[in-house]
Symmetry: C2
Subunit: 436 residues, 2 copies
């Protein structure tokens, strides 16, 4: 509750019909969840509501009664359908006043972009008199910080990067100050590991006794399944956090053949880390994924340290011309086959001059399957300094899921091959050392 001690309770209220009808996915709530969690603060509830006066007032009243910090996003644009600011005035018994400094900033913002500034844009400098404005250099709607009985309510624009900027530079530092003054510290921690290759019930059976022991130590375990992987998250509060690292070690030992990351990294992040730390280079040859593996790798900064590029060999002609796949293999085995996946991986490795090359060919669906090769059939090969390994998969019927599982499985295969090579190199150098 909205008290002055204990952990900070937070509620998130996202305003917008576009979220309710699913035209926009609520990535803001997920981003805020991660950022608040990192501070040790506790998100007790997220709501998505329509942009009507009644819904906003009801959500504000409920959330402010339960949580010390209430974060509103959305409904602050310059257009008529954005009413949050007016409802906040009504709720707080205040009225809009013009901030000349903010108006100057808005005019300058449009000037830099060579765009005309309209009256509706200037009116974004009208803010409720009782709030403190939070600077938004990335847009024209300011954040609004309201101090209230027992807590704080902040309203922010719904544009993700604007919200993120206001959170990082306004809300989080402001709340840290508030908590520091009251001598209150974050007190909740997580550890998580990523597994691939089995389901949550198999994992649970393997660690049943550990779960029982952790329950007695105040450590909670959660299973977070995604297509193709299960993340296991350990959580503890207060003094119990001291046991988290030992608990994670026990978990990794017990599940070792399925553990992809001990640090809670994604499989893409583990692959990038391995390639970069070993100084190896990486190339791809993608058919059904059309470039999705490369895109997943370059989503993280620093990919140029190991990723050289590849070939999107969607049509068969591209497989032949750009990767050297043989017409004979295509005719004899079909494009979705082990020989073609191997030739693609080896073609990527040789044509890009990389240490490792991955080849992907499959039937993503919903059409194109046969009795022998149903939708979801995917071959992934990895060519490296010690040879080429190919794995066949039968995923499901859903195209998006098949593409996502293919990309993650390709990373897992390359990670496995890379770790084997590293282990061989380590034991070889150990052998040399021993022989001295």
């Amino acid at each position: 509750m909205a008290g002055s001690s204990g952990r900070l309770e937070v509620e998130v209220v996202s305003i917008g019909d576009e979220l309710l009808i699913g035209q926009t996915v609520n990535t803001n709530a997920a981003w805020m969840g991660r950022a608040l969690e990192a501070e040790g603060w506790h998100v007790g509830r997220c709501q998505v509501i329509p942009d009507t006066r009644e819904a906003i007032l009801e959500a504000l009243r409920g959330a402010e009664a339960r949580a010390e910090l209430v974060l509103l996003t959305g409904g602050l644009g310059p257009t008529r359908d954005d009413i949050t600011k007016h409802v906040l005035c009504e709720h707080n018994g205040t009225e809009l006043v013009r901030h000349p400094d903010i108006e100057d900033r808005i005019v300058a913002w449009f000037g830099r972009r060579g765009r005309e500034v309209l009256q509706v844009n200037r009116d974004q400098a009208l803010l409720p008199a009782s709030c403190t404005a939070l600077d938004n250099p990335l847009g024209t709607a300011s954040g609004m910080w309201f101090d209230r009985e027992g807590g704080v309510t902040v309203s922010m624009p719904g544009v993700p990067y604007e919200m993120e900027h206001i959170m990082i530079h306004g809300v989080i530092p402001g709340m840290r100050n508030r908590l520091a003054k009251a001598g209150r510290q974050p007190e909740r921690e997580h550890r998580s590991i990523l597994t691939m290759g089995t389901g949550e019930s198999q994992l649970a059976a393997r660690i049943e006794d550990l779960e029982t022991r952790w329950a007695g130590e105040g450590i909670k375990l959660a299973y977070l399944p995604s297509p193709g992987s299960v993340r296991l998250r350990l959580t503890a509060e207060g003094a119990a956090t001291a046991g988290l690292d030992v608990a994670r070690g026990d978990l990794v030992d017990r599940l070792t053949e399925w553990v992809v990351s001990e640090e809670g990294r994604t499989v893409e992040q583990e692959l990038a880390h391995l390639m970069t730390s070993q100084g190896w280079t990486f190339a791809v040859a993608e058919s059904c994924t059309g470039g999705g593996l490369g895109a997943a790798l370059v989503a993280a900064p620093g990919a140029s340290a190991y990723f050289l590029g590849g070939v999107q060999a969607y049509a068969n002609s591209a497989k032949v011309e750009l990767l050297g796949v043989s017409e004979g293999d295509l005719a004899a085995h079909g494009a979705v086959s082990e020989p073609v996946a191997r030739a693609m991986a080896e073609g990527a490795r040789s044509r890009l001059g990389a240490d490792f090359g991955v080849g992907i060919t499959g039937i993503a669906g919903p059409d194109g399957g046969t009795a022998e090769k149903p939708v979801g059939t995917v071959f992934i090969a990895c060519a490296g300094p010690e040879g080429t390994r190919c794995v066949g998969h039968r995923f499901g019927r859903d195209r998006a899921r098949n593409l996502g599982m293919t990309i993650r499985s390709a990373c897992a295969l390359a990670l496995d091959e890379g770790r084997s090579l590293r282990a061989d190199a380590a034991s070889a150098s150990q052998g040399v050392a021993d022989s001295h």
Copy 2:
């Protein structure tokens, strides 16, 4: 409210700490929003709550008081942290009973996958006595349909494709039946168009008088901005829906230079539609996006009708070897430059043998910028039968946003070039027809 006439009011309750702390993005709520909207049903609120007994009970009571249909997702896995089923028993004053037919199905499910079936898996055949089970062939947790005073509550697993299957095959047909029996029909419709190239305030200024007129006709306009584009959505209910097509026509006429899609399609969908309908082929050469443009195109089924593939030319060596970019241009202008983007587009077009080739080179950030070419500098070229056109962009500082805007801008450029060619071809054939 939970009445027996008027539109169906729905609330969504997503259960799971992983959503609150942002380890998982709530794509389920967006999917459900789209599916319910398509039925003409009205989502009044979405909530995300922790998997505790108190939170689930409070959310159920609130949602059931307000909405005729309450959809719960999550907390139905076989492991200890999943408590939804037990809380539903308490809430409905019932107890778990074993369904032998469902247990047989679970055993068969594990058998097909060659995996051992554990007691916790068998126990997923324990369901509250008062519910009707909804079949889930994609997993082991059944959906649960509870008829209650004034409405229906359904609990589903949180795994997206399992939830989607249960919605499509259980929940939606069941609710259609219920409404049909009561003579109640969906009554809400949307039209939407997609614009690129200007901001929402500029759009609003251009159509101010239309908005005023529509308000009098019961037609509501919403602005849904994304990085690089603004979707405009018209909504009407009941008799006012008859005016939606005329309103959309007026909107398109007024905003014509910025309209990318009149049908509410994404720019990727418009490009796919144009290429397929004209029988043209398409190839890509991607540097900073690493394959993201190709991945965006193959995300939709049917891409093989026009997409041949391309080259992920992340390293400069790949630009030279696989696309024929000249070392001289790279040295003289740098990899991020108009000449290199043009050579990449032309290389993609010629090496893949496509009608159109797009080349992308840029600095996605956060590092790698210079005073002359700051982070966010991107050159996109499109090579086609009538020549090559290149556009330079200066996006922002955020890597993910820059990559997304680059992909959409590349689609928009290719769409523009393709539409020009189609228009030229049409006027040429008109010229021939006229001369007869």
